[in-house]
Amino acid sequence: METASAATSTLAARTQNASKIYGMGDTEVRALDDVTVGFARGAFTAIMGPSGSGKSTLMHTMAGLDPLTLGQSYIGDVELSSLNEKELTLLRREQVGFIFQAFNLIPTLSAMENITLPMDLAKTKPDQAWVENVISTVGLADRTSHRPDELSGGQQQRVAVARALASRPEIIFADEPTGNLDSRTGGEILDFMRSAVRELGQTIVMVTHDAVAASYSDRVVFLADGKIVDEMHEPTADAVFDHMKSLGD
């Protein structure tokens, strides 16, 4: 996995003719329908689309949380369907970071412990300097010993972002990370994610419903009915908003 050099691939993750089908016969749902997409290393990509269009499904299948029905999905050069359950766990631990909309943190662990959790699970020593760098960047330096229930929603999301960054994964998947936050707090988190991409070279893929949030990204991919219907580079909020309207969302 370490061999995935920039020369052989500039994509941190990609899918090839990926389909995900739920149910059978009459109740069949094609959550993903022949999706081929790649996410460039060091880029901040937003995925948008109407509810039920398959955004979460795409993320989950790419992150190794859920198998595809047809097609392939890669993290770096590793094809996920070739991995067993244990290898997938290791891959998630080492190469993938997650940020969910809510309930990102383990309530019994302090902010710091939540951040280093993937490394603790792997029994590897976190890179102390890097972790401190991440923590101070997210502005949590004075909050590391607090429990999640002693943190505000925005602070909790920042811890989640810090956790995703702390192990320097190949790629971070974020499913509506700011969905539960007010626009100002959300803006701070998005700012921070963008700077992680720009300054630290992190790769982030983010699902969002919000045109403003999407405008923080380098590129927006539009999904509808499990298919990629469009994409937009260097988006602005207005452009995204107009585009969504045109998609009849």
């Binding site: 949380l65 244990k86 766990t89 631990r93 969910f100 809510a102 993937p118 699970l121 792997a122 956790r163």
Partner: protein
């Protein structure tokens, strides 16, 4: 509302099953206890009806007090002749019941002894009056013939017509087997006793009833009461005539006397199980209410009243209780069979017979099952009713843990009441055992509840401490296990308390047994110097033979029987008296005799504690009566101290014993090897006298110690089997809590898995949480058990337990047991946690 409750009950079947299971077991135990004892009672009353229904009157030795045993002089032949001559007497059938009689079979084997009685009887051919029925061949009619019962015949290797060696109570002779017999009219009901029948006069001779009978059954023509009066006038002193009804009632009474404590003990175990179950149910409902908090809050928000919410929880408990009781009833019926098998495997013997399910049993089962469940759910139900509609809207709402201040006050009050009651029960003075036990039981129950209320305070320090090495050794999974068990001290403590109670009881019993053992061992080792102990009904000839052995230097014999302390046969206390010659025994046992003992005189020696009880000292007079109706005044000439060998409250001299007891046999023979022979030589010589005769048990001191040890151990193991059930229920409790916790933390576990927790680590996390809970419960239980055991051992008189000893090995075993229990309990929940589908888990609300 009711429909919703129903749905809630059945929506989570595993949770429902686990909750119900503990009640099922408790109810099953109660049902088994009643069914077994009812079954035995009805079997025996059928039997007694069988035996006595045909007899209008029975002539027998009068027992002025105590047991109707061999100490009563039998009824002389003359009485039979006199009574049979009366016009009103249609039939007079004499009977002898005497043991032990063993018929050696064709392969040289003897029937087993040690179980039900193996006795010899006289054959009358009158099965209406004595219930012996001929099955095959003919009845014995000459001095050389015998018949044996069909069970013995089937178990051994016998052929009708062959000659067999028969070992009797006083002699061994050869007889010809001429037939097989059965006792009782009803084939389903067999007493379990084994019989050998002889022709009447042969029975009198061979069974040691010279010209006498144990009983005479009479069939009367005309007015029975008039006949009874007529016969009474004829009878010599020491012989009485009673109606069949009286005999039957006595038979039933004596059986009930045995059955009563047996049932009480079974019910006590059932109670322990239900008590433990109550905590489990309470804890489960607490957790369930906590998990449904949002749902219940929503209900409140849309208009349900607090009492409606409370009722819905109680109705759920009611349903659980009802269904569990129904299952428990069925299981109890099966369990009754198992219980009998279990007790038989531990040496008990029970007659075969039907096991009836009385309506009363069903009522008791319903009451215990349903009431226990509903009461246990009361506190959680009250909490549920106080949930505010706001709670439905909160993101991470959890049921408020009850306030610490209130908890500590309630706990302290309960602990105080429990301790005071326990101390009063232990050290107070009571006339009777019942109020003492009631107060003790109450004290124990309240103490346990106090422990349950207070133990959440101990969770942080104790679990924190024992969790530290686990957190250190098992990385992230270990430290999360520790934190999870510290998360809700009330839940952890509530889950552990069942194990605490189970292990506390086991540890208490173990400490008592160990203390008892060490007391006995110590007194035997330091005070008994006999070398050899022989048990059995010893003849004078045998005693003489042993004394004459060159390898034996000192001997002493002990006889035993019942005496009455006073002369009022109806009210005075019956105690055991032992006969011994102190000039012999002093060389073999350190009796601690103070004062003096003069054989032959009207002197008795009292045991020290007994003398205190009776308020008597050296020089005082004591009146004793014997079963031969003799009453004498004795002078207390000495006081001795109890040992396991010599332990009766009253010691009489051998002359008094032989004059006043019909079967004045020695039953213990103490002997010491001579100085100039090796122990092995002395033993060999001793064995030649008893020649492997099963009626005698020859022990050297080590063997004797071993047998005492064994007795205590086997009692301990029976008790522990039952208490083990309580531990089993505690296990279910842990499984239950963990399953609910895993369910509750679904999202969290999903998240852990998403960020890289391996399945193994998830399993490990749950497993160590389980072990922490069980070890917490175990340590608490063992600590309590040591405390209780210490208190009890101190309260029990020194003559029985003189010092407390803590069996360190067993206690370590218990801790290991607790750890294993934790591992076992975690198997299912851990698997569930590991198997959680990550996506489902993340989207789980």
């Amino acid at each position: 509302m009711f429909k919703m409750t129903l749905r809630s009950v059945f929506s989570n079947k595993i949770r429902f099953l686990l909750t119900a299971l503990s009640v099922v077991l408790g109810v099953a135990f109660v049902v088994s206890a009643f069914v077994v004892t009812d079954g035995l009672r009805s079997t025996f009353s059928d039997l007694s009806a069988d035996i006595y229904s045909q007899q209008d009157l029975t002539v027998r030795p009068a027992a002025p007090f105590g047991e109707r045993d061999g100490d009563l002089p039998p009824v002389p032949d003359q009485v039979l002749a006199d009574v049979a001559a009366l016009d009103s007497v249609v039939e007079a059938t004499p009977a002898i019941f005497a043991g032990e009689v063993l018929v050696v079979d064709d392969l040289g084997n003897e029937p087993e002894t040690g179980g039900p009685p193996v006795v010899g009887v006289n054959w009358t051919g009158n099965d209406a009056l004595d219930q012996f029925v001929l099955i095959d061949g003919v009845g014995p009619s000459s001095p050389t013939e015998i018949a044996i019962d069909v069970n013995t015949f089937a178990d051994g290797d016998y052929t009708i017509g062959n000659e067999y060696v028969v070992k009797g109570p006083i002699a061994t002779e050869t007889f010809t087997l001429v037939g097989t017999i059965r006792f009782g009219v009803d084939e389903d009901v067999s007493v379990g006793a084994r019989f050998t029948a002889f022709e009447a006069e042969t029975a009198q001779r061979f069974l040691d009833r010279q010209d006498a009978w144990d009983e005479i059954a009479l069939a009367i023509d005309g007015d029975i009461e008039a006949a009874q009066a007529e016969i009474t006038a004829l009878l010599p002193q020491g012989v009485e005539v009673v109606s069949g009804d009286v005999s039957q009632a006595e038979f039933n009474d004596s059986f009930n006397e045995f059955l009563g404590p047996f049932r009480t003990i079974l019910l006590a175990f059932a109670f322990v199980i239900l008590f433990v179950s109550a905590f489990l149910i309470n804890n489960t409902f607490n957790i369930i209410v906590g998990q449904r908090i949002r749902e219940l809050g929503l209900l409140r928000a849309i208009g349900a009243t607090g009492s409606q919410v409370r009722r819905s929880v109680l109705v759920e408990a009611l349903l659980v209780g009802l269904i569990a009781t129904a299952i428990g009833l069925g299981l109890g019926l099966l369990g009754a069979r198992g219980l009998i098998a279990l007790l038989e495997s531990q040496g008990g013997e029970f007659p075969d017979g039907p096991l009836p399910l009385a309506f009363r049993t069903i009522l008791v089962a319903l009451f215990t099952g349903v009431v226990v469940t509903v009461i246990s759910a009361m506190i959680p139900a009250r909490k549920a009713s106080t949930i505010s509609p706001m709670e439905a809207l909160q993101e991470t709402s959890s049921l408020a843990e009850s306030s610490n201040a209130r908890r500590s006050i309630i706990g302290a009050v309960l602990a105080l009441v429990g301790i005071v009651a326990t101390l009063v029960g232990l050290f107070g003075s009571f006339e009777d055992a019942t109020p003492r036990l009631t107060i003790l039981g109450f004290g124990a129950i309240v103490s346990f509840i106090a422990v349950a209320v207070l133990s959440p305070f101990l969770v942080r320090p104790v679990v924190g401490l024992i969790g530290a090495p686990i957190a250190g050794a098992f990385g992230a999974a270990g430290s999360m296990a520790r934190r999870n068990s510290l998360r809700s001290p009330q839940r952890t403590a509530g889950t552990a308390v069942a194990l605490t109670i189970g292990l506390a009881l086991i540890a208490t019993v173990t400490v008592l047994a160990a203390s008892l053992k060490s007391t006995v061992t110590e007194s035997l080792e330091t005070r008994v110097n006999a070398g050899y102990v022989v048990f059995g009904e010893l003849t004078d000839a045998q005693v003489g033979e042993v004394a004459a052995l060159p390898g034996i230097s000192e001997t002493s014999v002990i006889g035993s029987g019942e005496v009455l302390l006073g002369d009022d046969f109806d009210t005075d206390e019956v105690v055991e008296a032992e006969s011994v010659n102190f000039s012999d025994i002093e060389a073999l046992v350190d009796t601690g005799l103070t004062g003096d003992y003069t054989p032959g005189g009207n002197h008795v020696v009292l045991e020290k504690n007994a003398a205190e009880d009776y308020g008597l000292g050296i020089g005082d007079d004591i009146t004793l009566s014997f079963k031969n109706l003799n009453t004498e005044i004795f002078e207390v000439s000495g006081i001795y101290e109890y040992t396991d060998i010599l332990d009766a409250p009253v010691i009489i001299d051998t002359t008094t014993f032989t004059t006043n007891f019909a079967e004045a046999d020695a039953f213990v023979l103490l002997a010491r090897g001579a100085d100039d022979v090796t122990p092995a030589q002395a033993r060999t010589q001793l064995d030649t006298v008893f020649d492997g005769d099963e009626n005698f048990e020859v022990n050297d001191q080590a063997e004797y110690l071993e047998s005492v040890d064994q007795e205590i151990s086997s009692l301990l193991s029976i008790i522990n089997i039952f208490l083990g059930l309580a531990v089993g229920i505690a296990l279910i409790g842990i499984i239950n809590t963990l399953t609910l916790s895993v369910f509750e933390r679904t999202r969290e576990i999903g998240l852990l898995r998403a960020v890289g927790m391996a399945r193994r680590q998830a399993r490990r996390m749950i497993r160590w949480e389980s072990v922490l809970i069980s070890v917490f419960g175990g340590i608490l239980g063992i600590a309590l058990g040591l405390l209780f055991g210490y208190a009890l051992a101190t309260a029990i008189p020194d003559s029985i337990i003189s010092g407390v000893s803590f069996p360190v090995g067993s206690l370590i075993t218990f801790v290991i047991m607790a750890i294993i229990a934790g591992f076992v309990a975690a198997i299912m929940p851990a698997r569930r946690a590991a198997k959680l589908n990550i996506l489902d888990a993340i989207s789980h609300v």
